[in-house]
């Protein structure tokens, strides 16, 4: 880390060191309220580059809060509904003197596409060099896609569990109504699904719904 300017006594040296700090340290704002995620992202960013990271979790007056920090880069989950609040920052008449722009692909080898795919959106101060943006974005993209993958897997597992439950109930209904065993009940469901060109869980759900209405 770089020492504080106040430790140096000569005014002109202090000034030079101050300029050095401005160039070296990027100020990154991360908008995120999930604690675990915040820790993972902040650690990764600090490893990737010399930067100061500010986390904002509270969405009230978001644009104002961000402007107060004067960041070089703002990172936010693409699925965060409060993202539209950040669009105010891109207006030239906004509270920042340097407009912030969504990272545009022009000079970045498809980085914006990769970011959208990974689920992170970035707002970058105009004029910041691509060489300085790249490590930050690479890290953010990697972290966000990891989180996204975990979430997708979780959702997928949940859905599979739900479907299992419905299929079990449908099997139970068939076994009781027709006096058949479990394997026969499943075979019946599967045949109906194939005949109708639908998925087994959909057939099972229709059966459970119908039974609920009739019962």
């Amino acid at each position: 880390m770089v020492g504080k300017p106040a430790t140096i006594s000569l005014a002109n040296q202090r000034f030079e060191l101050h300029v050095f700090i401005m160039v070296a340290e990027l100020k990154i704002v991360v908008v995120e309220d999930d604690r675990e995620r915040v820790i993972a992202i902040v650690d990764a960013l600090k490893e990737a580059c010399l930067c100061e990271v500010v986390v904002i979790g509270d969405r009230s007056g978001l644009a104002r809060q961000i402007a107060a920090h004067g960041p070089d880069i703002v990172l936010i989950d693409i699925n965060n509904p409060t993202r539209d609040m950040l669009e105010e920052l891109t207006l030239a008449s906004g509270p920042l003197d340097r407009p912030v722009a969504m990272f545009v692909s022009g000079n970045s080898d498809g980085m914006a596409e990769a970011a959208v795919e990974a689920g992170v959106s970035a707002y970058v101060v105009d004029g910041l060099s691509p060489a300085r943006i790249k490590p930050v974005m690479d890290t953010a993209i990697a972290r966000f896609s990891m989180v996204r993958q975990i979430r997708n897997e979780l959702a997928e597992t949940r859905r599979a569990l739900e479907e299992r439950k419905v299929i079990d109930r449908a099997k139970g209904l068939l076994m009781k109504a027709k006096g058949i065993d479990e394997d026969a009940a499943y075979a019946l469901l599967r045949k109906a699904a194939m005949d109708q060109g639908r998925r087994v869980p959909d057939i099972a759900e229709a059966l459970v719904t119908a039974a609920g209405l009739l019962g």
């Binding site: 009230s60 693409i78 699925n79 509904p81 669009e87 891109t90 207006l91 969504m102 959208v116 959106s121």
Partner: protein
């Protein structure tokens, strides 16, 4: 027949109905396509998904493609408006604090007269009023500014702040904004949450305001003319289906599904049928054609509408103005007409009109006979003549 899939991003709003109906009622299938509808959490997300190729088409605020053309906001990919998805459909409302003051002052909540509403607000407001809107580039902002400027409400001090529609009710309740302008069903949701009351349909400000547009990347439109045609036709047919009042109940149920809007069908039906409940006390107001998907050539993307929006965006944000040629590259009545020609439907012969000049339903000449354009007046009687504006600039 194998159907080609087209991915379309949308925001969960009543005016996404033509896209949802096109997919659910088989209009897309009839054109040999299937729509992968992707709900987005924010308008910037819709824009980015379209700009960076995650989707091919989008339900979009009609000012956004023009704002992108003006270089406003973060992303400036070339995007074209090929159809209007909807006309009108927004409401202006106030939070509990202002509602109480307005009632005490004897305001009648007629939900019709913009001048009376502004006068009442001028009378009761102690200081500046903060309005929540969904996005900086939206008809919400334009109509709100138009109304407050023309009535003198702006002199009281107006702050406009971006609030995502699903958060509008709680932001109002928390007192972070005093009032709002939002698309349905979110105004009705705020009423049901007892966060405030509705004072105006935006239709009362401009009677025929282009609200949402069917937007595609300009390069996609050029490389996939056949798919574009199918998409425009499927969505147009869905709009025509929606224009029959008999379909409102079905459409409300479709839209209310968890995968789409996930709000009770009864709230969606209010906008579709124009039977609005404007306060928690249950005051009912009838608004004829509260949101329009078809009648009066609603889907037709008039160049004059685009020009009205572009000039306001440019003036408010200090951008360089868009030439008529540039506007015609963004707002595409030519593509709309070309791809609907096959359906034999009637479309206006002209591509621009004098906005604000139609005071009552008016038949106009078309290729096949005539269609009836609906009133498009501004509440203060202003006229916007696109030809005159161009002449002044040259």
């Amino acid at each position: 027949m194998k159907r080609v899939r087209i991915s379309v991003a949308y925001m969960p709003l009543v005016d996404a109905a033509p896209l949802i109906v096109a997919q659910e009622m088989g209009f897309a299938q009839g054109e040999g396509i299937a729509l992968d509808l992707i709900a987005a959490p924010s308008w910037s997300s819709v824009r980015d998904m379209l700009a960076f190729g995650r989707v091919d088409a989008a339900h979009m605020l009609s000012p956004v493609p023009l704002a992108m053309g003006l270089g406003l906001g973060g992303v400036t990919t070339q995007v074209s408006s090929v159809s209007n998805l909807s006309v009108n459909g927004n409401v202006i409302g106030v939070g509990r604090a202002l509602e109480v003051k307005l009632r005490a002052a004897g305001y009648g909540f007629d939900f019709a007269d913009p001048i009376a509403a502004a006068d009442a607000l001028i009378q009761v407001a102690d200081g500046p009023i903060t309005f929540g809107v969904p996005f900086p580039f939206s008809m919400h902002v334009e109509l709100l500014r138009y109304w407050t400027d023309a009535t003198g409400l702006s002199d009281r001090g107006i702050t406009v702040r971006t609030v995502p529609p699903p958060l509008m009710a709680q932001t109002l309740a928390a007192g972070e904004v005093d009032a709002f302008c939002v698309g349905e069903p979110w105004g009705s949701v705020a009423v049901e949450a007892d966060a405030g009351a509705l004072i105006l349909p935006c239709k009362a400000i401009w009677a025929f305001a282009p609200e949402k547009t069917l937007a595609v990347r300009t390069d996609w439109a050029e490389t996939e003319p056949d798919l574009l045609g199918r998409l425009i036709r499927a969505v147009w047919k869905a709009g025509r289906w929606l224009s029959d009042p008999a379909t409102h109940a079905t459409a409300s149920f479709l839209l209310s599904r968890k995968a789409y809007l996930d709000v009770p069908p009864e709230l969606i039906d209010r906008a579709l049928s124009g039977h609005m409940t404007i306060s928690r006390r249950g005051d009912l107001r009838r608004v004829d054609r509260f949101v329009e998907f078809h009648e009066g050539a609603a889907t037709f993307p008039w160049l004059s509408q685009g020009k009205w929006i572009a000039e306001r965006l440019q003036r408010a944000n200090g951008a360089a103005s868009l030439s008529d040629t540039r506007i015609a590259q963004i707002v595409r009545p030519d593509l709309h007409r070309q791809h609907l020609a096959k359906t034999g439907c009637d479309l206006p012969g002209a591509s621009a009109k004098v906005e604000g000049a139609i005071l009552s339903p008016t038949p106009v000449a078309t290729a096949h006979g005539e269609i009836t354009l609906q009133p498009d007046c501004f509440f203060d009687g202003q006229i916007f003549d696109p030809a005159e504006e161009s002449a002044l600039k040259n």
